[in-house]
């Protein structure tokens, strides 16, 4: 039981902020926006980390940019648009739904549908 609990804790532990910079926000809402944005933007150097967790110097610079833009009153969408215009959709962990990403978004559901049809036909034959 103890082992099982440990495993569960281990599997579902939330990633801790590795970055140790401090930012001063004037209110809690800005701080939350900063956290949400940096958690959902990808670091371009170490590509499987987000901006919040990465220690790469570029990630620190990009965090600084996000911070400055939040402080100067830009909306989340403006910040995301700026970064996408520089680094492309690659910087988003959640790629937008458009013709280029149609297969990416719809693919899993299509495969699921095929699987269901296949299963249904296989079961019916018995």
């Amino acid at each position: 039981m103890k082992k099982f609990l440990f495993l569960i804790l281990f599997l579902f532990s939330v990633a801790i902020f590795a970055a140790e910079d401090f930012y001063n926000f004037s209110n809690k809402e800005q701080e939350k926006r900063f956290r949400d944005l940096t958690l959902n933007l990808r670091c371009l150097v170490c590509q499987n980390q987000n901006l919040a967790e990465s220690n790469a110097s570029l990630a620190a610079d990009l965090r600084q940019q996000v911070y400055q833009k939040i402080i100067s009153g830009e909306s989340d969408q403006q910040i995301i648009d700026y970064l996408v215009s520089r680094y492309g959709n690659f910087i988003l962990y959640r790629p937008p739904f458009n013709t280029k990403t149609l297969v990416l978004w719809a693919g899993p559901f299509l495969v699921l549908c095929f699987g269901m049809i296949f299963l249904w036909r296989a079961l019916r034959k018995r």
Binding site: L44, V45, Q47, S57, L58, D61, L62, Q65, V84, S85, R86, Y87, G88, F90, F118
Partner: protein
Amino acid sequence: MSFIKKSHITLPLILFILIIIFLWKGLNLHPNLIPSPLINKPAPYFELPSLLDSKKISNKDFIGHVTLLNVWATWCATCAEEHDLLLQLAQQEHIIIYGLNYKDNPNAAKKWLMQYGNPYQKIAVDQLGNVAIDLGVYGTPETFIIDKKGVIRYKHIGAISADVWENKLRDLVTQLQNESS
């Protein structure tokens, strides 16, 4: 007839082949090379101090000639690899190369150029790295090819080797040089 039906083999076989094709493709992908959304867009506005004199360098300096904009730093080991080739391009092929000195110590940069030679006609100092972010730079070295109108036409990520120059960049630069400005 065996007890396994034909249709029970074909579907897994098709899936297997599909997966193999995808994995095979995956072996040759380079996810570290992120395509730049700035291609065919004008170089973003910037104004930075020059490394070697007291002038300012801006995106307007790209107008009128084809420019290689090379993002480099003395702390970047790969930048040293391409340095000889850049010198050769500047001296023998008269290519106009600008440098963007990225998050570097200006004194170290000057010393480095004295020691190894300077292929750059102009060098902008980007100590904070903000102009590099505007250019979508995520690693050094990166080299932009900018046409006579100041529009970014290509970006090469990583060091320029003789092979890269001959097979990828030279023809593009020649073609851009022949475009009217």
